[in-house]
């Protein structure tokens, strides 16, 4: 295998997220140059804590992107589920968590039903859902931060396991594992890819695509709701304004993770790698002393490069362009000699 071939393989859509995450670690490691701020257990732990929240939201959003939709309501769901959990889970945290996740599933289900029954685009419906949920959160909390009385819950969720993980990040990883197995080995996973790849064709083939769409939005709602529940519990408080800006990073993570915005391509493991990339960038840049306000610039540049790599016929365009340039040079030479 030649060098060019190897590079091509590393940047093939299915391998790219993993290449990028490894590349990010290597680059940050080189900047770190053994000072040990970046390669430390503390950094890994903080990366995994970020992963727990952003990951589950990106998973939900990424699943909706897989079927060529866009679930804008995920960030609303995070806040709403967090508040519901804190409000109802004061005596029993399990009850609060169950109600919070149930609200997410129900929210996704309702939005999915509206979309499929009325044949609407997800952007409009979930934008409405986003604002409704945010509004609902304000109303439920009277626009105040509500603290959670059971101090044992945040302590338990955040206690380091093996130094690297917390219960919170283990739960997030488990959800990713389940999603990955379901996508790879079950008929449901195949149906999701088929629906995203060509919905009309899938319907003609006999697939009930409406059911797939509704399931995906329920899963997306449930996953982001779980993120919200875990976050509120681990902070010991719920605030209506917390994490309202999680949408853009989640979308970025899904795209870095190899989910195609035109549907049908991507995997939970890829999304996990995309989320890790963003979390590592954020923690790692801080660790090596880059100011937080520069982080967005780096993330944005990486996203742009990925978008360009996805251009159709990119290789062919480059060849043609080189060909044209060579021809122009030849003509110029001819002109000069005659």
């Amino acid at each position: 295998m030649t060098f060019g071939n190897a590079v091509q393989r590393l940047f093939a859509p299915s391998a790219r997220p993993f290449t990028i995450v490894v590349g990010t670690i290597i680059v940050l490691g080189l900047f770190d140059r053994g000072t040990g701020y970046f390669f430390s257990i503390g950094t890994v732990f903080s990366v995994m804590q970020l992963f727990a929240t952003l990951g589950l939201v990106a998973l939900g959003l990424g699943l909706s992107m897989l079927i060529r939709e866009f679930d804008l309501s995920v960030s609303g769901m995070v806040g709403l589920a967090g508040c519901i959990a804190v409000l109802t889970g004061a005596s029993n945290p399990w009850l609060g968590a169950a109600l919070g996740v149930a609200a997410g599933l129900l929210g996704g289900l309702i939005q999915g039903l509206i979309m499929t029954r009325l044949n609407l685009s997800s952007v409009g419906v979930t934008l409405g859902g986003l604002l409704t949920m945010q509004g609902l959160t304000y109303v439920l909390t009277d626009n105040q931060t509500i603290s959670y009385p059971k101090i044992a819950v945040p302590l338990g969720l955040n206690a380091p396991l093996a130094g690297l993980f917390s219960l919170r990040s283990v739960v997030a990883l488990a959800v990713f594992a389940i999603a990955a197995l379901a996508m790879r080995y079950t008929r449901l996973g195949r149906d999701v890819i088929a629906t995203g790849s060509d919905r009309r064709a899938s319907r003609i083939a006999g697939l009930n695509t409406d059911r797939v769409v509704i399931s995906v939005f329920a899963a997306s709602g449930g996953s982001s709701a779980l993120a919200g529940v875990l976050l509120s519990y681990s902070l010991g408080a719920a605030s209506p304004v917390a994490l309202s800006d999680v949408l853009a990073p989640a979308a970025a993570a899904a795209i870095v993770g190899g989910v195609s915005v035109i549907g049908g391509r991507g995997s939970p493991m890829g999304i996990a790698a995309g989320v890790l990339t963003l979390c590592i960038l954020s923690s790692g840049l801080s660790a090596i002393g880059v100011a937080p306000y520069v982080h967005d610039l780096v993330t944005g540049a990486i996203l742009l490069v990925i978008a360009i790599l996805d251009a159709p016929d990119l290789a062919q365009r480059i060849t043609t362009w080189q060909f044209d340039r060579a021809e122009r040079q030849r003509n110029a030479l001819k002109g000069a000699s005659s």
Partner: protein
Amino acid sequence: MPVLAIDGVTKRFGPNAVLKDVSLALDAHEVRAVCGENGAGKSTLVKVITGLYAPDEGAVCVDGTPVVITSPQHAQELGIALVAQELSLAPALSVLDNIWLGNRKVPLLHRRQELRARARAALDKLGLNDLALDTPASALSIGRRQLVEIARMLTRDARVFILDEPTATLSDVEIERIFAALRALKAEGKSVIYITHRLGEVFEICDSVSVLRNGDLVGTRRTNEIDRGTLMQMMLGRSLGEMYPAWESSPGDPMLMVKDLHVPPLVRGFDLTAERGTVTCLAGQVGSGAITVLRALAGLTPGASGEASISGKPMRLRTVARAQAADVKFISEDRAGEGIFLRLTVGQNLIATKLKDHTAFGLLARRGLRATAASLAAAVGVDRKRLHSPADELSGGNQQKLAFGRWIGGDRPGVLLMNEPTRGVDVGARAEIYRLIRQFCDRGYCVVMASSDIEEVLGMADVVVSMYRGRQVARYRRGETDMQRILADITHPAAA
């Protein structure tokens, strides 16, 4: 007892009845052709049988019992399998997953050896022994995709198989494989409904034929009791007369010159000269490069290189804007995707290229556009009453006329490029489209069309260029060649 019977089915859309009291009965071991012009009701009939439409009157009976088929899934459970006219493979899935996609009997954990084996067997039956099950569908040619769809149908364990124009995109070898599979199904006692525009296929593979016209069942005949002429007459309600317009060929000066055209990976070093006022046909099967050449000349292929000139003026390849500025007009083989705007109305489709002519101070002049739309509709023979209907409600033939209508007008005659202009178009509309093509010639256009239909090539061409695997095999003037010669050229050229 018939396996499937359609008993007095009527289906209306608003005031229009598209099926009127149609009755059919299909036995085991029977291959039944259903023929008719576009708009005759064939597709509606299929949709009634597969549960997409509920009939307003009448019933569908399976094994003599009337059933209300509520959904395609329900039809599948009743043992009815369909190969739809539209491609229905999900490009991102593998061949294996596509074969089982939508099958009600696939278990939740679907990675099973048994499913692989059955998919393999179905592909082998169609001669696709070399096709790996894990190939993504996006890597397949259109023809192969169609064969995979038929493999999917074979795995459905159905008793009634419906194929809606399955051969439109296939080469002769592939068609022969499908026929072999159908004969095998028939021998096993299955029933087949075969919808086609190609009359030759009716007599080759079918036992009987039912003809629809304007929603009425004209009749059902055994194929060994009638001939081609009778069948055509049943379909049209009149005898066909001449399908291809008679004309005096008057070649003008060379207008389109192509030298050393390369379109990787298929076409390498292709030359072409086409004259004003003539029809040049690039005859070739799927994969011959005929379609690729015209797409490249229309500026649609980023990787194309070579020299092209229109009336002596060089034209830059690889941009549609330059091609159009040089008066090169293109009608795509992919009507739904590139030919017309399915979501817009008939009128809006017709004026799509005329907006610039009817703009004052950046605003559209509605009155002028309306008049233009009406006159274009008249020119191409689309009913004026349909100007406000969405284009996707039209038949394939009428949609194709819209694609033509868009290029009528303009001061200078140019080059008209067409890929498979009559694909999925019925006999009646076909004759009209041939007449339209000739009108373009009379106005001084240079027409170049790629076609895999040899009859059409012989009927229309002033110059035939036969192609095989991306290169020219031979070039004939009108009258210099015949069907056997072209067939030999485009399948197994002697020099290859």
